[in-house]
Symmetry: none
C-alpha cells in the first residue's frame, strides 16, 4: 500500500557524489529524482514545484517518483537529511583542524563556502530555506546533530576564552547567521567561492562572537 520501503544504505553518500561501483538502473533513477527535486525545490520552492515537473526534469514518469519516495514531502525530507549529514560531516572535519576554536571555525567557514560552491542546491535547501512543518522528527533530529556539533566547537572557544561568554547556542547561531549570508550569495552563483566578499564576511562572523577585551 506504500512504496519505497527498501532503503538501500549509502544512498545518502551516493547522493553526495562519492562512491560508485555497481550502480543499478534503479539507483540511477533515484539519483535523477534527487537532483531534479533538489534543483526545483531550491529554485522555485517546495509548494510551487509539482510532481509532474519533478518527473519531467528527472526524465521519468510521474508514477516513478512513488517507487522511490513515499510522498513529495518524504522526498523533501530525504533531501533535507542528506543536506544535514553533509553539513555535519563538514563540521566534524573542521573539528579535526589543528589549532584553537578560531582556526577551526575559520576552516569550517571556508569549507562551507567551498562545499556550497560545489553543491549550491544542497546548501540552499539546508541552510537558507525554511521548511516549517514539512520536516518530520527524523529530519529535525538530523539537523540537531549538525547544530550540536557546531555548538560544541563554539563551546570549546568559550572554554579557551576566545569566544564571548553566554549561551554557546546563541553564538553558534550568530556565527552561522553571518556565514549564511555568504553562502546565500555563493549558492545563488552571485559570488564565486573566491569572491572579494567572502573573506570579510567570514571574518565578520568571527568578530561577532569573539571575546572582547
Amino acid at each position: 500500500m506504500c512504496a519505497a520501503k527498501r532503503r538501500n544504505p549509502g544512498s545518502g553518500a551516493r547522493g553526495a557524489g562519492l562512491d560508485s561501483r555497481a550502480m543499478t538502473q534503479a539507483d540511477l533513477t533515484h539519483q535523477r529524482l534527487v537532483r531534479a527535486a533538489l534543483e526545483l525545490f531550491t529554485t522555485q520552492g517546495y509548494h510551487v514545484t509539482t510532481t509532474p515537473e519533478i518527473a519531467k526534469k528527472a526524465g521519468v514518469a510521474e508514477g516513478t517518483i512513488y517507487r522511490h519516495f513515499q510522498s513529495k514531502q518524504q522526498l523533501l525530507n530525504d533531501l533535507y537529511r542528506g543536506g544535514a549529514r553533509w553539513a555535519a560531516k563538514l563540521v566534524k572535519e573542521a573539528d579535526a583542524t589543528p589549532g584553537g576554536a578560531r582556526d577551526k571555525l575559520a576552516a569550517l567557514g571556508r569549507a562551507l563556502v567551498a562545499a556550497t560552491a560545489r553543491e549550491p542546491a544542497v546548501a540552499q535547501l539546508f541552510f537558507l530555506q525554511r521548511h516549517g512543518s514539512l520536516l518530520d522528527d527524523e529530519s529535525r533530529k538530523t539537523a540537531r546533530d549538525f547544530r550540536l556539533a557546531l555548538e560544541s566547537l563554539v563551546a570549546q572557544g568559550k572554554a579557551e576564552g576566545s569566544i564571548k561568554a553566554g549561551a554557546a547556542e546563541l553564538w553558534a547561531h550568530v556565527w552561522l547567521g553571518v556565514v549564511s549570508l555568504a553562502l546565500d550569495h555563493v549558492s545563488a552563483r552571485e559570488w564565486p567561492p573566491d569572491h572579494a566578499g567572502v573573506q570579510p564576511t567570514l571574518e565578520a562572523a568571527w568578530e561577532a562572537i569573539r571575546a572582547t577585551v
Copy 2:
C-alpha cells in the same frame, strides 16, 4: 480582474494601528482581512494558507476578499509593502538620533526589537520570510527604500571610520542579518523584548561590522 481599483490612501498607516476618526464598515472589513492574512501567512506560510481560511478567520465571506484585494498574491504584496514602509520609518527615526552611526544603529536595533514585539507578524513577514517571485516590482522598490536607508546609515559610519571599509551594502546586510536573529526569537515570542539574549545579539551585530584597528 475588476475589483479593488480605488486605492484608499493611508491603508498602510491604518494597518500599523494609528489613525482612526470615521472608520467606515468597509475599512473595518479591510482591517480584519489584513490581520487575518498577516497572522496566517506568517504562521503557516503563504502557499499553505487558503483564501477560505483567511475569510473565515476574518469573519467574512470568501468573495469579500476580492472586493478589497485583486488577488491573494496582491494581498501578500499589500502586507509586504506595509511592512517595508513600517521598517523604513523606523530607520528614518533612528537616523534622527543624535550621535554617530554606532548610536544610530544601536537605536535602530532597539527600535526594531521593540516594534517586532508589538507587531510580530509584520516583522516576520518583512524580515524573516522569503517571498521569492511572489513580490511585484512595487514591493521590491519599497523594500529597496528600506535597504537604501539602512545602507546610508552604514555609509555614514564608514565615512566616520567607525565601520569597516568595503561595500556599505555588504555591511548593512551583515548587520541586519545578525539583528534578524534576535527579531526571529522576538517575533516567535520566544524572547520578550527585554530578554537577556537581545542586547548581546545587537552588540554582536555591531561588532561584526565595526572597523577594527
Copy 3:
C-alpha cells in the same frame, strides 16, 4: 477545510419527493447531485463511478460535488441513509395496517414493491447492494432502525403463533430475503409492480416463515 457542514433539515424528505415551496438554487443542485449519484451508483457500482461522471450527469462542475458532500463516500452514505429512512417509514406505515402480522407483512410486501417501482434506485441501493466498509456508523445505525422495526413485526407474529418459533431476527431476514428477489426484478424494471411473479413471491416469503402445524 471541509465543506457541506450546514445540513438543511428535510433534505432527506425532499429527496423522497414530497415537500417543495421555496427550493433554493443550492437545494436544487443538491437534488440533482443526489439523483445523478443514485443512478450511477446503482447501475454501475460505487467504485466504477467517477466524480467527473457524477458531476456531468448532474450538470454541474466537479468541484460542486464537494460543496454539498464531504467526499464521494459521504455522498454514498447520505444516499444510503435516505434509503434506510425511506424503508423504515414503509415498515412503520405497514405496522399501522389493521389485522395480524400476516396482514401487516403482506401490506409491507406490497408497499415495498410499489415503492421500489417508484424509486428503483433507492431500493437497489438499500436492499440489493452490499457496501461493505464504505458505510459509516451513522449509516449502520439507520439501517438497524429499519431491521429492528421489521423484526418487531415478526416478533408480533411469533407472539400470535402465526410465525415459526426461533429468532425473530432470522425470520425477518428470511422474509426480506425472499421479498428482495421480487424487489430485484422490479428495481431492474424487468417486472412491473403488477407482474405475475410478484404475488407468488410475496406469498412464498410468508410461507417460508409462517408457523407450520
Copy 4:
C-alpha cells in the same frame, strides 16, 4: 496482451483442492495466486483489491500475476468459473440422491452448507457477490449451467406435484435465495455448518416453494 495463452486443463479442479500427482513449480504459484485473490476479493471486494496486494499475499512478484492470468478481471472470471463448476457438481451429486425432489433439494442444501464451510471464499464469490459487468460470456454460461441444473431439480418437483406451479426458474431462484442466507452466515464463519440456524433455514427454503394444498 501476450501472457497466459496456454490453458492448462484441470486448473479448475486443482483450484477445488483434489488432484495432485506432479505439481510443478508453476502450478504451485498458480495455486497461491488463486488462493490469495479468492481471499482478497471476497473479504474486501474486487475493486478495492489491488494487484500488488494479491502478489504480496501470494508471495510472488507483481509481474508474475500476468504469467498466469491475462488481467485482474480474467483472474476474477477464472475464480468465478471455478466456483460455478464446483456448485454445478454439487447439484449433480444431489440429483443422484434417491427419492423425490424434496429429498434431493434437502441433500443439496446440506451439501451446499458443508461445501461452504470447507471453501467459504468460493461460495462467497459465486453465491453471495455480485460482479455486474465484470463477468465475461464464458463465466455467464458456466453460471447458467448451475442454474439450469438446479431448475431441472425444481421442474422435477413440479412434475411430482410437490412444488408449486409457476416458473421453475422463479422457484429455483427463491429456494436458492433462502439457502443463500444460510450460506452467507456460514461463509462469514458466523455459523458453523451445524449451527442451530442452518436446518430451519433450509426447511424454510423448501416451505417457500413447496406446493400448498
